[in-house]
Amino acid sequence: MCSTPAVADRPISTHVIEFPYTRTLGPVVGPFLTGLRDGTIRGIRSRDGRVLVPPTEWDPNTGEPLDPSDLVEVGPAGVVESWAWVTEPTGKHPLQAPFAFALVTLDGADTAMVHAVDAGSIDEMSTGMRVIARWKEERIGHITDFVFVPEAGK
């Protein structure tokens, strides 16, 4: 369609729209991300005694505020409850090679959290498998400070 030599090699234009928000984290998510920066994963004990991971400021059953002093350390290993394999990661995915998004219930937790599992191959994935956090060396206090890997292959 393009007969113009000067631009024949670039018939596709790329546009980026970016909204740079900076968000305050509050008394529960702040310590959760501070923990990730420091290499620990924390959940919060709800009113009925369950440990919620990631921690929330509010009890999901009653809406009552939860107490940040009820933050407890969980993991760093857990069980895959469910998973989906990503064959073609985009630049915005946490891993650039094929990986799994999984629901992982960490040891000591009563809820599952979504995160990436760097399993290398879909054949390594199974429901019920054990995974463990692999930490980045340079952590900033963000959910991407770690990914899960199969516990056996840690």
Partner: protein
């Protein structure tokens, strides 16, 4: 415990998070935009003149939205790189994320000399922004050949010559009275 307690207990705690919502999209560039871009690289401004309305569209868009008619290569016309400032705004930069400018600058709409055409959001060069005025005669300052690019040109960057035209400088000619371009601006 409140936010304030957390702050005094451990000032190094993570309390904020950058959250960059980022949308990237790719699209096939219209043939007419490629023609326009190639001409820009050669130092020429191309538009399309509508036989029905007489309006000149730059960059060309292959249709006349006023007359609701298709335009084609037959309607391409080379435009002048001189014109008159019909409108402008002075931007005082706030240092938000991505803002590289620190001093106030002017962005102007320029109506090109016959056969016409409107370019918007153009930089005015060589004079301080508070000397920019409606009716001021200007001419394009092209980047030298070999230093031009069309990186920012896409289907929706109407009025864009960025990458090829650095901006517009006053010609020193007398200002045009507003009634010479009222009614021609669209």
């Amino acid at each position: 415990m409140s936010d304030n307690d957390a702050m005094t207990d451990a000032p190094e705690d993570v309390r904020m998070m950058d959250y960059f919502m980022h949308l990237e999209y790719h699209e096939l560039v219209c043939p007419i935009v490629l023609t326009y871009a190639a001409a820009l690289m050669e130092g020429k401004l191309l538009g399309q003149i509508s036989p029905s309305s007489g309006l000149v569209y730059v960059p060309p868009r292959s249709y006349d939205p006023v007359a609701c008619e298709w335009l084609g290569d037959d309607h391409l016309v080379e435009l002048k790189d001189r014109g008159v400032v019909t409108n402008f705004t002075i931007v005082t930069p706030v240092q938000y994320y991505g803002q590289e400018k620190t001093e106030p600058f002017a962005k102007a709409s320029i109506m090109l000399d016959d056969p016409g055409g409107m370019l918007s959001l153009q930089d005015i060069l060589e004079i301080p922004p508070d000397e920019v005025r409606v009716g001021m005669r200007v001419e394009a300052v092209w980047f030298p050949e070999g230093e031009r690019n069309i990186d920012e040109i896409g289907n929706r960057s109407w009025g864009s010559a960025a990458g090829c035209i650095a901006g517009w400088r006053p010609t020193g000619e007398p200002d045009l009275p507003a009634d010479t371009f009222v009614g021609k601006v669209y």
